[in-house]
């Protein structure tokens, strides 16, 4: 394109504690275009955006904005220059009004006091400009997520933003609201505002984007006009290989029933859940966000209570009221959020791995250091965890290695059944493939696996059978032959 770009990034690099998050990344955004930034979780998109808005300082590289170098690492200043970001988690003050939120930090003043009248007038003007009917004096907490997002956009416009970064803006919106957002984005384009758009939803990308830049594992892969991509070519560029080869062959289950659940219910969360898992089998649980998958898993492991239902292990009914009970009965649990419920940040790799069965490495309450070290060393080797030493802190590891530490911890108690809730969330493709291989090894050794995943290819590629939940109810149990992306989505949408 002949005109000079509004935002141009060259050779940007950033690493954390020696781990490269971005390596010589480029980006060139023209006025008035929607530029999609694509990449898997962990590809470096969020690090990249945090650098652009001044939250992080790059190690090297140059950012040119509107013809001048952007060197400021102060969020407020970057915003004033004309780069705004609509965050995935909305950063608004719920107790303040819409107008107060829009002008937060830049309130119009009169005699040194805030000019509330002018504040509301200007806010009303901005909102009208966007064509939305939100009252400027409404309290932020009374708005829907979609409305809050629009307020965020109004705030960006009030800063005379020339570039607006949108990170997964539709993740919490209904179809109608998405349509409204798209209209506003197109309107912004006409006003020569450039949009950097981050989303995992391919249909949105192809509906909106003029240009697509792909990142993978912190590396710049390509920038091309959107019409030169097909969904398949885009995916293979993002993951760097054909998806099918990621999954090992599914093995036929070979053993007796390990766990059976009958009529498991908890008001407001899930209702009448029934399934059985056999030794060597992967039972997938599919469903939309909020369908109750994680809630069922947490109840099985004793992290949350259940009001009704029977859980049997190896044919014997058991009571599971706490994680201790669950572990005693041979269950293992890897939660969906490894930062929140997986590892202990202050502890070393070794201490994290042995945490769940520390008493087995202890005599009279004293930890036997040598046996502990041996066990941790074996786990690190078996799971191929890449660390500089057993005493390294888990926080300094990549997401994939952190996840392996958490899985290693669970496996060290030699469980009969492992519950994996979103085991590959936020980790790079290489580590994903290793975790898939690991799941296969577990089942080959006769361990039963319950797999919860929002990624359909993962669920389909690994599971022997798939339980589908919708709004807390079990809508189907699908065999490998029956399970396709379409059937799963069909049952996942039931009751909507």
């Amino acid at each position: 394109m002949p005109q000079s770009p509004i935002l141009s990034v060259t050779n940007l690099s950033k690493s954390f504690a020696g781990v490269s998050a971005l390596n010589n990344v480029h980006l060139s955004v023209q006025k008035g275009e929607v530029h999609a930034l694509m990449g898997e979780n962990g590809a470096g998109k969020s690090t990249f955006m945090k650098i652009l808005i001044g939250l992080l300082t790059p190690d090297s590289g140059e950012i040119m904005f509107d013809g001048e170098p952007l060197k400021s690492h102060n969020v407020g200043e970057v915003m004033k220059r004309g780069i705004s970001m609509i965050h995935q988690e909305l950063l608004t003050v719920p107790e303040l009004t819409v107008a107060q939120n829009i002008f937060l930090g830049r309130e119009p003043k009169r005699w040194g006091f805030i000019d509330e009248k002018k504040l509301n007038e200007q806010a009303a003007e901005l909102l009208a400009h966007l064509g939305v009917s939100i009252r400027p004096d409404a309290r932020m907490k009374h708005l829907s997520v979609a409305e809050m997002q629009l307020v965020d956009i109004a705030k960006a416009l009030s800063n005379e933003a020339k570039v607006i970064i949108m990170d997964e803006p539709t993740s919490a919106l209904s179809d109608n609201e998405v349509a409204t957002l798209f209209d506003i984005i197109r309107e912004l384009q006409r006003k020569d505002v450039a949009i950097v758009y981050i989303s995992h939803k391919l249909e949105e990308i192809f509906a909106l984007a003029d240009t697509i830049t792909v990142l993978r594992d912190g590396q710049f892969i390509a920038t091309k006009p959107a019409n030169e991509f097909t969904p398949n070519s885009l995916i293979s560029m993002m993951v760097g290989r054909e998806l099918d080869s990621l999954f090992p062959d599914i093995q036929a289950p070979n053993g007796p029933e390990v766990l059976a659940v009958k009529g498991l219910s908890q008001a407001g969360k899930f209702e009448n859940i029934n399934f059985a898992v056999h030794a060597g089998e992967v039972l997938g649980i599919g469903g939309l966000m909020g369908a109750g998958r994680t809630e069922v898993a947490r109840a099985l492991f004793g992290l949350d209570p259940h009001e009704q239902g029977e859980i049997s292990i190896n044919g014997q009914p058991v009571t599971i009221g706490s994680p201790q009970d669950a572990i005693r009965h041979g269950l293992g649990y890897v939660g969906e959020d490894r930062k929140a419920s997986g590892f202990i940040p202050g502890l070393s790799v070794k201490h994290n791995i042995t945490l769940a069965c520390l008493p087995t490495f202890a005599r009279q309450g004293f930890v036997a250091n040598q046996r502990e070290t041996e066990a941790a060393t074996k786990t690190v080797r078996d799971l191929n965890i890449k660390i500089s030493g057993l005493n390294q802190r888990v926080t300094n590891l990549s997401g994939g290695n952190q996840q392996k530490v958490v899985i290693g911890k669970v496996l060290l108690s030699a469980p009969r059944l492992v519950i994996l809730d979103e085991p590959t969330r936020g980790i790079d493709v290489g580590a994903k493939a290793e975790i898939y291989k690991l799941i296969n090894q577990l089942t080959a050794n006769g361990i039963a696996v319950i797999l919860i995943s929002s990624e359909l290819p993962e669920l389909l590629g690994l599971s022997n059978r798939i339980v589908v939940l919708a709004k807390g109810k079990q809508t189907a149990v699908l065999s490998t032959e029956e399970a396709t992306p379409e059937t799963i989505m069909h049952y996942a949408m039931q009751g909507n």
Partner: protein
């Protein structure tokens, strides 16, 4: 991805955490030694450690609690109640020496258990719960003593905190023993590991099958017990059970813990750090005394050191 290039000695330093404090401690000691000849004498150093020991004992208990992400404001009041209880069993020719000791220890354990019980069974934050028991404890000390010091204590009781064995004050010996035991509990036992785990990430600890309430119970009981030992020793040393004793001690204990590098949010901390923190406070007030600095200014200086230590800690954490 590449393995991070963190050199082993860096993790070692971070484990100690209070590296900067160690340097500060020695710099201040050297400066004091150079500016007054009275500082670096065996006699003066003994005085410092003796003066520090009560605070250090309380701080060891508070360190366990803060590592799990909690706080214990009641230790100063426990010192007073325990002092009054122990003193009332310690009049000459009434009970054997073991009676006031056991009565005092039990009192501390009851308080610790009460703290732990309410904190683990309710959603009330430890700050509030122990603020309550702090007030209750002070009230009980006044009730039990009828507001008057309990004096006329036996010689054997007075020996506990005031005597010497082989020329070394008993307070110093007890401090050393308590330090060794507390360090071992924290570093070498399953319970100690669980304290770090609970303070580092309670959810993950729960999901790992750790009995989180048990761990919390234990730290408050430990804190109460150490406060009881401190209360018995203080009463013995001053020769009376004072219902107003120990007022504000909890803040000094928290200060020593935090200066020693224990994170206020939990999950990190060492007994060595806490000991150095307590010594640092003691050395500074001793040194300033020797230099004839008014005690009013000493408070200001202590305050600056507490905030400075936390700033240092947060800088360390950011680097980590």
């Amino acid at each position: 991805m590449n393995a991070p290039s963190l050199k082993p000695y860096q993790t070692q330093f971070r484990k100690i955490g209070q590296y900067g404090i160690v340097v500060a401690f020695f710099v201040i000691c050297i400066a004091l030694a150079l500016s007054t000849p009275r500082f670096l004498t065996v006699q003066n150093l003994m005085i410092i450690v003796t003066q520090v020991s009560i605070n250090a004992l309380l701080a060891f208990g508070v360190t366990f609690v803060i590592i799990t992400g909690g706080i214990d404001l009641s230790v100063g009041s426990i010192v007073a109640v325990v002092g009054v209880v122990a003193a009332s069993f310690a009049h000459p020719d009434t009970h054997p020496i073991i009676v006031p000791i056991v009565a005092g220890l039990l009192t501390g354990i009851v308080f610790g258990t009460l703290n732990g019980f309410v904190i683990t069974r309710s959603n009330v934050p430890p700050f509030i719960v122990t603020l309550g028991t702090m007030t209750i404890g002070r009230g009980l000390a006044l009730i039990l003593s009828k507001g008057r010091p309990v004096s006329n204590l036996s010689d054997s009781f007075n020996f506990l905190g005031g005597g010497k064995i082989f020329g070394i004050p008993t307070l110093i010996l007890i401090l050393i023993i308590a330090f060794i035991i507390c360090s071992i509990v924290l570093r070498k036992t399953v319970s100690g590991r669980y304290m770090y785990a609970v303070g580092g990430n309670e959810q993950a600890s729960k999901a790992s099958g750790i009995g989180v309430p048990r761990v919390k119970m234990l730290v408050y009981i430990l804190s109460g017990s150490l406060a009881a030992i401190a209360g018995i020793l203080l009463t013995s040393r001053i020769g009376t059970g004072q219902p107003n004793a120990g007022a504000g001690f909890e803040l000094d204990a928290i200060a020593a813990t935090i200066i020693g590098g224990t994170s206020t949010t939990g999950g990190t901390g060492t007994m060595t750090g806490t000991l150095i923190g307590a010594l640092l406070i003691g050395v500074i007030s001793n040194g300033l005394d020797l230099l004839n600095v008014s005690s009013y200014y000493q408070l200001v200086i202590k305050g600056v050191i507490i905030v400075g230590a936390v700033i240092l800690d947060s800088v360390n954490q950011k680097r980590g």
